[in-house]
Assembly symmetry: C2
Homo-oligomer: 190 residues x 2
DNA sequence: ACCTGAACACCGTTCAAGT
DNA sequence: ACCTGAACACCGTTCAAGT
């Protein structure tokens, strides 16, 4: 017998997939594996660490080959991949956003976007701020979208139309701002 | 005796101020008021509703007179007021962001920004998307900043300098994007 | 109307002890 | 190394009953 970390993470992802984040407790996961909850603490320091591993697994499963050429295309590709990976599991956005905020995982997309911008010639400070601004948007928008999607599937009529367009438009706003800012100090133009 | 809603909210804000969001439980709040936890359910439908009232109270306490003239100044003023109001209480950003995401409160800033943009002549769809993009940024950035501030006060060295500059820069990126987008379709320019 | 008391169905985490 | 069993210190919420 003897479970490995990856077995536990896999079972945790399956639990998340079926019942959502609120059912992903150490006790339920233990019961699901046929083990005492305390046994999980031999594999993970605490629940946050386990959730970080689950978030990373979700992002890994959503990986796609890169095809874009310019920095705007590349950043958009990373953001769309991130969004889709999170949307593939109930409460995925909330989970990944929380893990990222705690600095325990989900750092791949940030590294990718930041290096894309740096290599495109943006100065490091701007690249860093732009990366975080873009990620705040992706996490915020996707959490909203998923909340509305899940609320709709439970009963409500769904008061919010157009999901995809809104994502592209919001992201475009930030990338346009970045393109414009990079041309020189904003305050110097009329 | 007999508590009113406002008494309970006031005590809840004090608890949040002293011990943070994780200590703001129905049981602790009840004990603090010298009442059974179940008594709170006569005044609030559930914990989420109570937290929404707490969030609204925090925003109310942070209100400032408006002085700006142009739409960029106005939106920036609203965002800075929102950020400062959340920073005034431990875990304030997390609390307000959660309440807003659930659609249970904290809707004032959104209404304010959206009407500012609409009155400035942006078409309704763009005004709505831009408003949400801006709010995702403010919530995300302020949650990050507060997490780092609180982590720093507990022990860590604090690996992140410059808070205020970063906020202005990120917000400026979005507002610049909005100003640029409004001039015409982005794809039509070289 | 407002509150008590007790219960229901849970949590995360620790730790001595077993194999 | 990996897991059990039991405990500690909690949660949100419901509901009959009291005043």
């Amino acid at each position: 017998m003897a479970y490995r970390r990856s077995d536990i993470v896999e079972r945790a992802v399956a639990l998340l997939d079926q019942y959502g984040l609120s059912s992903l407790s150490m006790r339920r996961l233990g019961a699901d594996l046929g083990v005492q909850p305390s046994a999980l603490y031999h594999h993970f320091e605490n629940k946050q660490t386990l959730l970080a591993a689950v978030a990373d697994e979700i992002l890994r499963r959503g990986r796609r080959p890169r095809t874009g050429t310019g920095w705007e295309e590349s950043v958009t590709e990373t953001c769309v991949e991130l969004r889709d990976a999170m949307l593939a599991y109930p409460d995925g956005a909330e989970l990944v956003a929380t893990v990222f905020a705690f600095g325990l995982g989900a750092a791949g997309p940030a590294r990718e976007i930041e290096s894309t911008l740096t290599e495109a010639g943006f100065e490091p400070g701007l690249a860093r701020t732009a990366t975080r601004t873009v990620l705040h948007f992706v996490f915020g928008h996707t959490t909203d979208a998923q909340t509305h999607l899940q609320a709709g599937s439970v009963g409500a009529i769904g008061d919010e139309p157009r999901q995809g367009d809104d994502f592209d438009l919001g992201l475009g706003l930030i990338l346009t701002g970045l393109r414009t800012s990079a041309a020189g100090p904003v305050s110097a133009r009329p």
